[in-house]
């Protein structure tokens, strides 16, 4: 599903609420049958760890960890034993096996977003939240990243929630949802 709309229309806010990254003034969100806002912050975090993957416009890699270690993070959070092997495999899938030990600041924007993709998919999430994943990238890199994301999405059978204002991109999604000034429009 694609969420589209002009700047300031509330796309990212909606995404944040859907993922339980922020708390609404009123109303609620059910994720995989669980009411997110009946849980506390920790409960929501655990639910995210189980269900969700994320890709952000500004990558949000930890600057002090290498590419591989960034990908290992969600696995470690779940206490997965062979985190290193699975993370290496995941990096391989995004074509960055050779850059595994580089710090984010030594990677290009496109490479950083590929690390973020590897991190998002490494746990096999049921749902992937992507917030303008190509917003910080040039057209060529952006297209590559999108291809890669749709490919992984297809392979893993993940539900994708994509925030974008790129019309072409939203067309590639099964459903489109358009926001204007915080309201859904047909």
């Amino acid at each position: 599903m694609a969420i589209t709309g002009a700047s300031g229309s509330g796309k990212s806010t909606l995404l944040g609420l859907l993922a339980g990254l922020d708390v609404p003034g009123s109303g609620t969100v059910k994720l995989d049958g669980t009411d997110l806002f009946l849980l506390d912050e920790d409960g929501r975090a655990r639910l995210r760890a189980k269900l969700a993957g994320f890709v952000f416009q500004s990558f949000q890699l930890l600057p002090t960890l290498s590419a591989l270690e960034n990908v290992m993070l969600p696995l470690e959070l779940q206490g997965v034993r062979d985190a290193r092997a699975r993370a290496t495999e995941s990096l391989n899938e995004v074509g960055l096996a050779l850059r595994a030990h580089h710090l984010p600041k030594h990677l290009s924007g496109g490479e950083q977003q590929r690390v973020a993709l590897a991190r998002a998919f490494v746990c096999g999430p049921k749902i992937l939240f992507a917030d303008e994943p190509t917003g910080n990238l040039d057209a060529g890199n952006g297209a590559q990243i999108m291809d890669l994301m749709f490919e992984l999405n297809r392979l893993q059978g993940t539900t994708l929630i994509l925030v974008t204002h790129d019309e072409l991109l939203s067309k590639r999604c099964g459903k489109q949802l358009r926001l204007e000034a915080g309201r859904m429009v047909p």
Binding site: S58, T64, L65, E69, P74, K105, G109
Partner: protein, 832 residues
């Protein structure tokens, strides 16, 4: 100044101020200036008080003594400089009461005497004397009162006149506790002197010109007088007063200097950390302004103005807090109401130091801001343009070192600190870097949690070095302070000798020891004393002309008191060579050889003055006969130990055949004071010297300085905690971001807590280890080269360093990151 830009800076400053951006930097500065000015102002007052106290022993700030009347020029010069001058005369005379007669020292004083210090008298009740004895009356010391069984109101005959004893002197000043002034004292108004008929041609009169006033004219006069004095005239000031007091004063200043340095060091670190954080948080704003077309120099000006405003406010705040805290200290801790007000100089010094710290530590980062690329607006990963870390730390170290030089007032101490800082920082950096690499390697190798892996890449090294600097300062201050105070106080136990007895003849030794046993006073060791003059060093004849140093000239001109002993006095320390009863090896165990050893042991201070080294052959003239012997050891003597000390000690074989007199120091308990009088009666040729006053003075100085240092220590502790806080804050933004990402990925707060606590534990461990290492090294350097005390390796330092490091960092870390887990992650991630 560009007015528009200044207003803009003011505007920016106000906005940042409200957002709390300046809080840490300004707090660091307030604390820096506050502690520097507290220490400075307080130390200034204590110093003044100590000098005044010492001056009260002289009765003046400067004193000229002579056996001839003074040239009127001296008085004129002093008065022209706005100083107060009084002259008194002292002469020996027989005094009588009823049918008893004894020798006493008569001191005639004019109105206005004494210039410094106070005389306590008892004329029925004990009180501070407000003037001098009225004409026709005298004040008499305790000894004479007891000797004649005098009471206030009795008559005392001095020369041709009879005087009323108006008071007993309880606490006297201006006593030269030399070996000559042992006799009873009588204080007389100078108008009465003529009537006694005692002063005639050929009378033995000691003249003293006493001068007091403001420090500046005093030192001007001292310099002027040095060229004017004739050979029989001696100029004394507070530092000449007594070696015991001088040593105590010097040690006091070393203590306070050390404490001030420590605080400055910590403050500098805190300012550095705060400035770094400030700059990092203003990258975006600078990039935007660069995009909007501001020039580099205008940008630099904009920030310089803000730093000036911040500096000005913080320095004022610091000075205010410094003044209040020192006033509170004086009031509540020292419970002293009569300390002189502090001068302006320490405040000016502290303010300038504050600005120096601010710009020394913030200027380079500001230059970096100037060069920020406007492209950062689009490419956020563009950080600070690189400036050599060595340049940043080099400048910081230089600023600190010059501050230290200035604060310490001692080139030696300042240079030590500069060298120590540079070498120390370099080594600390290397050590931390290495540790972190090893840790990161091990973490990857053994799949430790990522909190340990990331340590090698983050700015943790800065934190560890900063924390360990704080820790080191705290440890050194605790360690050195404790050891120094202990070894200092240990020198003056309650039963430290309080009397000297001199002029004991060889044949009196037995009966004197018997006397002590009868009086149930512990029998002192009688030390032989032979007078001799140094005439040649290594066969080269020497005279006063051989030396430029006036002290050396004086030493060569007069006779030394030499002594001989088989064993080294226990209150001396060997610094070079070997003592003779240890120098015979098992290969030559013959006692005959040992007795034939002709050897000398010299006190290290006088050896330095006279340029005497181990192995030099010294030739002495004793009563017309010459002997030569090599110097086989150099000793350190504790002049403030209140013991009998000798510059030169010889092997018995060299001196035992010469006529010697003996001397001893001993402790006379307060309940046995009468034994002193009995001794004077039974052995009238001996001189009994009472040094209780001196001991009290030295004890007083030690006590005051101990308290001062304890208070300053609290300040250092606070600065150390600020460093700790600033160091953790420096990485807080990084941590908040990291926490948000981890939370997005599903980490709960227990995980985050574990993550941070383990990270803090490791940082605390590393910082504690490094701090202990550095403290041991610095403590050794300070003990060995600056404070001249033996260094004991205190094993507790490791335990307290490491455990203290872990606990403190974990505690402060816990409180400073509690909030981190509470912010909804999206707000953090979007707030970037």
């Amino acid at each position: 100044m560009n007015r528009g830009r200044y207003l803009l800076a003011l505007n920016f400053f106000r906005r940042d101020w409200r957002a709390g951006e300046w809080r840490v930097l300004m707090l660091a500065l307030v604390l820096a200036v506050g502690s520097l000015s507290t220490v400075g102002l307080f130390a200034d007052r204590v110093r003044q008080a100590l000098s005044l106290q010492a001056a009260s022993l002289l009765g003046a700030d400067l004193r000229i003594s002579s056996t001839r009347p003074f040239s009127p020029e001296y008085r004129k010069l002093a008065e022209k400089l706005g100083l107060r001058v009084v002259e008194n005369r002292t002469f020996p005379s027989m005094v009588s009461h009823q049918d008893q007669v004894t020798l006493a020292e008569i001191q005639s004083v004019p109105a206005g005497y004494p210039l410094r210090g106070k005389i306590d008298i008892n004329d029925g009740i004990t009180h501070v004397a407000t003037g001098i004895p009225h004409a026709g009356s005298v004040w008499v010391d305790e000894r004479l009162m007891r000797r004649f069984d005098l009471h206030v109101g009795d008559e005392l005959g001095v020369g041709q006149q009879r005087f009323v004893v108006a008071a007993r002197i309880v606490k006297d000043i201006d006593q030269s506790v030399g070996f000559a002034s042992f006799s009873s004292r009588v204080l007389m108004n100078e108008v009465d002197v003529a009537g006694t008929g005692l002063l005639q041609e050929g009378s033995r009169i000691a003249y003293r010109l006493m001068i007091a006033g403001e420090p500046a004219p005093i030192s001007a006069l001292r310099i002027a007088l040095k060229g004017m004095l004739s050979s029989g005239e001696k100029l004394e000031d507070v530092t000449d007063a007594r070696p015991e007091i001088r040593t105590a004063l010097e040690r006091a200043e070393q203590f306070l200097g050390l404490a001030a340095l420590t605080t400055a060091l910590l403050a500098g670190v805190a300012v550095m950390l705060a400035a770094r954080r400030y700059v990092l948080r203003h990258l975006d704003a600078c990039a935007v302004m660069r995009c909007l077309g501001i020039t580099q120099s205008a940008l630099l000006q904009l920030f310089l103005y803000q730093f000036l405003i911040a500096g000005f406010i913080a320095v004022l705040g610091g000075l205010l807090s410094g003044y209040l805290v020192q006033a509170a200290l004086v009031e509540w801790v020292m419970r002293a109401t009569d300390l002189p007000q502090p001068g302006f100089l320490p405040a000016i010094k502290a303010a300038l130091s504050g600005f120096a710290l601010l710009f020394g530590f913030a200027f380079l980062p500001l230059l970096q801001l100037r060069r920020i690329s406007p492209l950062r607006v689009i490419r956020r990963e563009l950080g600070l343009p690189g400036v050599s870390a060595w340049l940043v730390y080099g400048i910081a170290a230089l600023v600190l070192a010059s501050l230290f030089l200035w604060q310490a007032g001692s080139l030696k101490l300042g240079l030590f600190v500069l060298a120590g800082l540079l070498v120390g920082l370099l080594m600390a950096w290397c050590v931390v870097w290495l540790w972190l690499r090893v840790l990161a390697y091990a973490a990857v190798r053994f799949s430790w949690p990522h909190s340990l892996r990331k340590l090698a890449n983050s700015s943790v090294a800065v934190q560890v070095v900063a924390l360990s600097l704080g820790g080191m300062a705290l440890l050194v201050l605790t360690l050195v302070r404790g050891d120094l105070l202990q070894s200092w106080q240990g020198k003056l136990p309650f039963d430290a000798p309080n009397r000297f007895v001199v002029g004991i003849q060889s044949e009196q030794r037995q009966s004197l020891q018997e006397f002590f046993r009868q009086q149930a006073v512990s029998v002192p060791e009688l030390l032989p004393m032979v007078k001799g003059r140094l005439v040649a060093v290594n066969g080269q004849a020497i005279s006063a002309g051989s030396f430029a140093d006036p002290r050396a000239k004086g030493l060569v001109e007069r006779e030394f008191n030499l002594s001989y002993a088989q064993k080294m006095p226990v209150w001396n320390t060997l610094v070079q060579g070997r003592w003779w009863n240890e120098s015979h090896t098992p290969a030559s165990p013959s006692r005959g050889n040992e007795d034939n050893n002709a050897e000398l042991s010299v006190e290290e201070g006088i050896a330095k003055t006279l340029n005497i080294h181990l192995g030099d052959q010294l030739t002495y003239d004793v009563a017309g006969s010459l002997f030569s012997a090599p110097v086989t050891s150099l000793r350190r003597v504790q002049w403030d130990s209140m013991r009998v000390n000798f510059f030169v000690i010889a092997t018995p074989v060299l001196l035992q055949d010469y006529p010697a007199s003996y001397l001893a120091s001993f402790y006379l308990p307060p309940d046995k004071v009468l034994a002193g009088d009995a001794l004077s009666r039974q052995f009238p040729n001996m001189l009994l010297i009472d040094i209780r006053e001196v001991i009290e003075q030295v004890r007083g100085i030690i006590a005051q300085v101990s308290q001062t240092v304890s208070v300053v220590f609290v300040y250092t502790l606070l600065s150390g905690l600020l460093v700790l806080y600033a160091a953790l804050l420096a990485t807080q933004d990084e941590r908040i971001h990291e926490a948000a990402v981890l939370r997005v990925l599903g980490a709960d707060s227990a995980y985050l807590r574990r993550l941070y606590l383990s990270e803090f534990a490791v940082i605390g461990l590393l910082a504690g280890l490094l701090a202990s290492l550095a403290a041991v090294a610095l403590g050794w350097v300070l003990a060995r080269y600056v404070l001249d005390i033996p260094y004991r390796l205190n094993s507790i330092i490791w335990l307290s360093g490491v455990s203290g490091g872990i606990v403190m960092v974990m505690l402060v870390g816990y409180f400073s990151t509690r909030r981190v887990a509470k912010i909804p992650p999206l707000r953090v991630l979007r707030g970037e």
